[in-house]
């Protein structure tokens, strides 16, 4: 059994890596490799499920792989299998298989054929990690992969302006979801004093006991998880990102935003439901938000005049209902509802181009001047208001902008007075002194948690906000991200005495990737004769390999699970005390903005229309 499960988990890894190696021009090999292996994976999973049911459908938990261990801290990869995993796994496998077969023909001759399949593999890998995860840490690895693969798929047509812009926007919403998870993981550590697995959460008495003794922490965790789930599943108030994500080829929109990706919030809630079960407040909030989403999204869906946004909002409304079902404890209904909604929306998106001939033909025979509206009894002013509000998507896009994007921009702009010289002359020395002090303390064995950690963390946040607001100097922006990590590491190290090894683990990846990125930037600058961050420059047009390497370096710099910094981040968090909310928030914010700043550099430099070409360039508005 375990071997089978491991094989199922390993195939996507193998598939992804293999797909990278096949040369670009071999369309056939790429697609066969993909749907062949996904198909195999699906078959094995089906066999596994049959076997599992036959053996009594007992939950399986495999503690797999200890990535890092030190006193009082273990970071391990854990897998878990129950009926929720089975459902999500099977639906995911089936849809991915069908879509890869579909795309084999659909994407024929499209520039980026290989890139598309690479990204789908990457997505599938992340999806499986999430679905099979046995603890929040493992889930988080998959969650991060999904975020990046989403970004890559939305910006699939990377030489146009809107896909790139929307990809960055969607990524920023995902990032908010990530922070919910990071903070939840942090609080979980403190609540359980261990890296808790989902299977242990099933122990009702254990959960109950912990929550009653820490009710505030309990509710905080629940709300943080809710935040993640709501961001990922495009629920209120995040909904408006989903239709904007429909920029890639239709099958990718169908599988990502019609079905799998957008339902992962549902998965997260089902997975952590045992934890929520006893927290009435959290359940009420969840249920109410679900209903609000359903109401708003339905209204928006009713006025949509483009076929994909109509399907997107209709799907969001159903997911709102699913969340409400979970909050009421109707888990199996939710699971069933998910399955139906996922299949339905995928199919609807896939046949969406047919809507023209179908509806025109329908109209030829049964045209009605004004379709009957169910709320026609409302006063006209109300109707008009609701109509306008729905066309404007209840101002959700604006709300998101003002809530999340604009404060960050404003903060960054306020910090623009910090010039490169201030940073080299003040902040770098501060960091150095603090660092040396840290080593001295450590050597002398003196144990004095310092009040300095908050100011240091603030400086760290300032660094990355400044990086985010930089318009000209790419190198400055890049190194500021790195500087942020240094400040955070020092701040936390000042907070609690712990072995320097943790700091080194954290910084090791960051430093290496920062250096690699710097080298690439240098080369690009030389080749292009000047780079900046004012607008999208589309350098990937003639520097594909560098763009890819820079993306990897960037991911490394943000602590993506390819770098030891990933474990380091989690580790650093475990050194923040449960009552140090401010510090935790500062560090968490740093992580959000880190990711955004790096993705911003990447997209401004490498994505978008490339000006210096004789090739045709699309309009900005198209």
């Amino acid at each position: 059994m375990e071997l089978l499960l491991h094989t199922i988990l390993l195939i996507p890894v193998l598939g992804f890596l293999g797909s990278l190696l096949i040369p670009e021009i071999k369309e056939n090999a790429i697609s066969r490799w993909t749907f062949g292996l996904v198909g195999l994976n699906l078959l094995l999973l089906m066999a596994f499920v049959v076997l599992w049911v036959w053996q009594g459908a007992v939950n399986i938990d495999i503690k797999d792989w200890v990535l890092y261990q030190s006193t009082g801290y273990v970071f391990f990869i854990d897998f878990f299998f129950d009926h929720v995993t089975a459902t999500f796994g099977l639906v995911g496998g089936m849809l991915t298989f069908l879509i890869t077969v579909y795309s084999r023909y659909y994407l024929h001759r499209e520039t980026g054929y290989k890139r598309f399949f690479n990204t789908v593999w990457f997505f599938y890998l992340g999806y499986n990690l999430v679905v099979f995860s046995g603890n929040l840490e493992t889930l988080f690895v998959g969650w991060e992969i999904l975020g990046i693969s989403s970004f890559l798929l939305i910006s699939f047509y990377r030489d146009r302006y809107l896909p790139v812009k929307n990809a960055v926007r969607v990524f920023s919403i995902y990032r908010i979801g990530d922070v919910g998870l990071i903070m939840a993981m942090w609080l979980m550590h403190h609540l359980w004093h261990e890296n808790i697995t989902f299977s242990r959460l099933l122990d009702q008495s254990l959960v109950h006991e912990h929550i009653t003794s820490h009710s505030l922490v309990g509710i905080a965790i629940a709300l943080l998880i809710l935040l993640s789930a709501y961001a990922k599943s495009a629920q209120f108030p995040f909904s408006s990102w989903l239709p904007r994500a429909m920029e890639g080829p239709t099958p990718s929109s169908a599988i990502f935003y019609g079905s799998l990706s957008v339902h992962l919030g549902v998965f997260l809630m089902l997975r952590t439901y045992p934890f929520l079960e006893f927290q009435l407040t959290a359940r009420v909030i969840m249920g109410v938000l679900g209903v609000i989403t359903a109401f708003i999204a339905t209204n928006i869906a009713r006025v949509q005049s483009s076929v994909k946004s109509q399907i997107a909002y209709a799907s969001i409304a159903q997911i709102g209902l699913i969340f409400t079902e979970i909050s009421l404890g109707w888990l199996n209904l939710a699971l069933f509802h998910f399955t139906g909604n996922a299949f339905l929306r995928t199919y609807q998106l896939l046949v969406s181009p047919s809507v023209v001939s179908y509806l025109i033909r329908e109209q030829l025979y049964q045209f009605k001047q004004q379709p009957h509206s169910r709320i026609h009894w409302l006063p006209k002013a109300w109707m008009n208001s609701l109509y306008i509000l729905s066309v404007k998507e209840f101002n959700l896009e604006k709300l998101n902008f003002y809530l999340f994007w604009s404060p960050m921009k404003r903060a960054g702009r306020a910090l623009r007075f910090l010039k490169a010289k201030h940073i080299t002359l003040f902040f770098v020395p501060v960091a150095l002194i603090a660092f040396v002090d840290l080593i001295m303390q450590n050597l002398s064995g003196s144990n004095m948690p310092s009040v300095l950690s908050l100011p240091l963390a603030m400086m760290g946040l300032a660094m990355v906000l400044r990086s985010f607001a930089e318009k000209k100097d790419v190198f400055l922006s890049w190194w500021l991200v790195m500087l942020n990590h240094v400040f955070i590491a020092i701040a936390v190290a000042f907070n609690e005495h712990f072995t320097l090894e943790h700091v080194f683990l954290y910084l090791s990846g960051v430093v290496v990737f920062a250096a690699v990125g710097h080298l690439i930037l240098g080369k690009v600058e030389k080749a292009e004769g000047g780079i900046h961050l004012k607008y999208f420059q589309g350098i990937v047009h003639n520097k594909q390999r560098w763009a890819l390497m820079f993306l990897i370096a960037g991911l490394g710099l943000t602590g993506f699970p390819i770098s030891p910094s990933f474990v380091g981040e989690d580790l650093i968090f475990s050194h923040i005390h449960e009552n140090q909310w401010l510090l935790a928030v500062l560090v968490a914010l740093s992580y959000i903005v880190d990711g955004l700043a790096v993705i911003r550099i990447y997209s401004r430099l490498f994505l978008g229309p490339y000006g210096k070409t004789h090739k045709e360039i699309a309009y900005r508005s198209s």
Binding site: R244, P249, S354, Y358, Q369, L389, V391, K612
Partner: protein
């Protein structure tokens, strides 16, 4: 005084903008046209150069693309030398050749369009487009929507601005953020000019500002201008004008500017970058464009010469076989097809199966211009070339149309509670359906098939019985029928030697997941299949009264001759015959024989087409290849059900003898014409008047969609999203994308149409001069015209307003027997040559 002036100059500006905007109609009536029609009053290359300067279009392939073609052998060194020898003085030729082969790098220059508007960005850091477009597009699309939204625009029957005023007046929410913008909206006395004064300031900038503004979203502006000109193009009509959307957009701009800069913001002309902006424009490198012109000419010469050489070869071959060319011999069958380039190969295959069958080409509405209304339909569909307005209506009855429905398109799936139930029931069915649609694609309600257009057994109201509807005459009177039959037969030179069976074959196409479906049907039937027209023509020509009258007029059709209507499905290569059961028993056997041969011809045609479909493996049994060609038309995942007019480059007007046995690689429109019976040129006039805009329009739409697929074409169709059933856009808040998607044009070579007319230069010249609009095509060389003189046997090229004799380069042809089906593994263009 001044006031009046400015107002009329704004009206003039709007007219000018309308002239340059894309003229594409809503999706259901996709009709091909010259994308750069606005520049057609200039010589071809001059117009292209201007379009590039002003609007930043890429109007010819880039130097690099030409060089690639050169290295692949698609442009020969000889062709290059020929062009340079023709265009450049003796001493400079080697220099020019050097420049073409090794051009120094050119920096692309900024087009004129958009410069003024960028001042907002430069001077006040407001990205006006990105703040205004999403609202503008959304409101516009909601208003124009033809039936996607469940809740449609309130007051949609009012004009656009009035509708907005009406709902804004009576609402607690608003499309605008500031009170200022709302006040402007309600102040009915304020004009466009007032708004421009407030936003732009200086009157001298109005023209450029409006042009910049509208061309930042030419897709939406274009569709609005089109609907304004042709409101009946929509089933659910709307009253909208370019003026209205300009006004609304200016209000949205005002809203943003007030919000960002305060109500007393300075107008654009007061900002420093706007001052003297008109003087700052620098045109791009003329040398670079000149090099591209030379390349283009070489590219065209190479193709044209091989075609003319091929035709010449056929001619020589024919003179050697005079005995075969016996005029008095009656052919076994005659089959009339549309001039469409997709029928070019089918005709060849049919002739190979039935060597005694004569084929003809004429525009696929067969002279029958009418509206059509099937039983139960609420609307009338136009079935004739786009510029013609029919006066007749034909109704179909007898068979109720049974439309199959698909719940996946149903509105209820998008609502909350019904959606809840549907997701849990239909949702599961979707999975199974998807599985079968991927592994075993079949016809579904989503498919748009050519047969839907008219039920095979429906009864058409051919004859007029005194009824009129909406000002249209139902059916045709006897003299009208006689006139139609006579002129159509005369126009293609089919006036004697009638065989027992004459087939009139219309065409249509089946596809799925294809918003551009109507671009695949017959262009001469306004983007509909030609089945109704074919049946109508046959009914008229078979009418004994009509025959009697025709005989009096000198056109005697023997009693034994029967016309049979048919429809050829170009994506599936299938044919349906109409009323073949009513054939006299004497003809039944003949028909069966024809049907069998046609069946083989269709199969061979499908095989020949399959060579362009890379994903179909060619090393498998023929039946399996054919099966896969057919499946394309019903496969959801197939963005290329067929390649439509791709690779078209020729239009040959003349007798079939000119091209019989010549492999034209499906690149030619073929219009039958008998020069001998047209000494006045009247018949030719009728043909050219229609063929120039239709074939030229198709050709140039493919041309420009191919050279600039982003700005003049629709880009890849894979991310397309259907907007309000009127157009497609990328994503949900993009501009509409007129033009052709990349999947339709990727194999196309951008070559201007070469129109070869089998008639003396004198008559042709006299004919094309008759109509100014037609003459423009040839005078300005948007179509290249060659006369193939039936008397002298020489060729004349129409350049700079006159015919000049052409000397043909003798082309060396492969001596090996050429058989098109041997080349199914070849995906590129094949040489034009004779089939031995």
């Amino acid at each position: 005084m001044k006031h009046v002036n400015v107002d009329s100059s704004i009206a003039k500006t709007l007219e000018e903008i309308r002239h340059f905007l894309p003229a594409q109609a809503p999706l259901k009536d996709f009709v091909h046209h010259n994308t750069l029609h606005a520049f057609q009053n200039k010589p071809f290359f001059e117009g292209l150069s201007e379009a590039q300067e002003r609007f930043g279009y890429k109007t010819l392939l880039s130097l690099r693309e030409f060089q690639e073609k050169f290295h692949r052998g698609e442009i020969s060194p000889e062709a290059l030398e020929q062009v340079i020898a023709k265009e450049k003085p003796e001493g400079e030729r080697t220099q020019w050749l050097e420049k073409m082969m090794h051009p120094r790098p050119f920096v692309p220059s900024e087009p004129q369009i958009g410069r003024l508007r960028r001042v907002w960005m430069k001077d006040v850091h407001i990205d006006l487009d990105s703040m205004v477009h999403p609202s503008l597009f959304r409101v516009l699309c909601s208003y124009l929507d033809q039936g996607i939204a469940i809740w449609q625009f309130p007051e949609k029957n009012m004009g656009f601005l009035d509708a907005i005023r009406s709902i804004e007046e009576n609402s607690f929410s608003s499309f605008f953020t500031t009170v200022e913008a709302k006040n402007w909206l309600f102040r009915k006395t304020s004009t466009l000019e007032d708004l421009l004064h407030r936003i732009v300031g200086d009157e001298s900038l109005f023209h450029d500002y409006l042009t910049d503004q509208q061309f930042a979203h030419q897709g939406w502006s274009g569709i609005v201008a089109n609907i304004e000109d042709n409101p009946l193009g929509l089933l659910d009509t709307r009253k909208i004008s370019l003026h209205d959307i300009v006004y609304f957009e200016l209000l949205l701009e005002l809203d943003v500017l007030c919000m960002k800069l305060g109500v007393d913001f300075k107008p654009l002309s007061h900002h420093k970058n706007a001052i003297g902006i008109n003087g700052k424009f620098q045109p791009s490198s003329p040398l670079e464009f000149e090099l591209r012109i030379l390349w283009q000419k070489a590219f065209e010469i190479m193709h044209y010469q091989s075609v003319l050489a091929g035709i010449n070869q056929v001619k020589q071959h024919m003179t050697g076989h005079v005995e075969h060319d016996n005029q008095s011999e009656k052919p076994s069958y005659q089959a009339v097809f549309c001039i469409d380039d997709r029928e070019c190969s089918l005709r060849r295959h049919l002739e190979m199966q039935l060597p005694s069958c004569d084929t003809f080409g004429t525009p696929g509405f067969f002279g029958v211009a009418t509206y059509y209304q099937p039983e139960g339909s609420l609307f009338k569909t136009k079935l004739c070339p786009a510029p013609v307005t029919p006066k007749h209506l034909v109704k179909a009855s007898g068979v109720k149309d049974k439309r199959k429905t698909d719940a996946h398109f149903h509105r209820q799936t998008h609502t909350l509670l019904p959606g809840f139930l549907i997701a849990q029931t239909l949702g599961m069915w979707s999975a199974i359906k998807l599985f079968f649609q991927i592994f075993k694609p079949t016809m579904s309600p989503a498919t748009s098939t050519s047969l839907q257009h008219m039920h095979k057994h429906s009864v058409l109201t051919v004859a007029h019985e005194g009824k009129f509807e909406d000002g249209l005459q139902v059916g045709f009177t006897l003299p009208e029928m006689v006139g139609i039959v006579k002129s159509t037969l005369q126009s293609m030179g089919l006036t004697q030697h009638f065989s027992s069976l004459i087939y009139i074959v219309g065409h249509g196409s089946s596809s799925v997941n294809n918003p551009h479906f109507s671009a695949y049907d017959c262009g001469a039937c306004c983007g509909r299949p030609g089945s109704v027209n074919a049946r109508l023509f046959c009914a008229m020509a078979n009418n004994p009264e009509v025959r009697k009258q025709l005989a009096i007029d000198g056109l005697t059709i023997p009693e034994s001759t029967v016309f049979v209507g048919a429809l050829h499905d170009t994506s599936r290569d299938e044919i349906v015959y109409y009323e073949q059961d009513h054939l006299p028993s004497s003809h039944q056997e003949l028909h069966i024989h024809f049907d069998k041969s046609m069946d083989i011809a269709l199969k061979n045609n499908a095989l020949e087409r399959s060579r362009r479909f890379v994903l179909i493996p060619k090393k498998q049994p023929k039946t399996s290849i054919l099966q896969q060609v057919k499946l394309r038309s019903v496969s959801l995942f197939e963005p290329r059900p067929e390649l439509n007019h791709a690779t078209n480059s020729l239009c040959i007007i003349g007798s079939r003898k000119l091209t019989k046995g010549l492999f034209l690689d499906r690149r030619s429109f073929l219009n039958s014409y008998n020069a001998a019976s047209d000494s006045t040129g009247d018949i030719l006039y009728g043909i050219i008047k229609a063929a120039a805009p239709v074939c030229g329009g198709i050709n140039l739409e493919y041309f420009f969609s191919r050279v600039d697929n982003q700005k003049l074409g629709a880009g890849s169709k894979l991310p397309h999203n259907v907007m309000g059933l009127v157009g497609v856009a990328n994503g949900i808040d993009g501009d509409l994308r007129p033009g052709l998607p990349s999947q339709m044009i990727e194999v196309h070579d951008p070559l201007r149409l070469l129109m070869i007319v089998e008639q003396t230069p004198a008559i042709i010249e006299q004919v094309i001069h008759r109509d100014a609009a037609t003459y423009e095509w040839f005078k300005n060389e948007w179509i290249n015209l060659v006369s193939c003189c039936p008397i002298s046997g020489k060729y004349y090229e129409f350049t700079a307003g006159e015919f000049v004799e052409l000397s043909l380069q003798s082309e060396s042809f492969a001596q090996k027997p050429f058989e098109p089906l041997m080349f199914v593994e070849e995906t590129d263009n094949l040489p034009i040559q004779m089939i031995h």
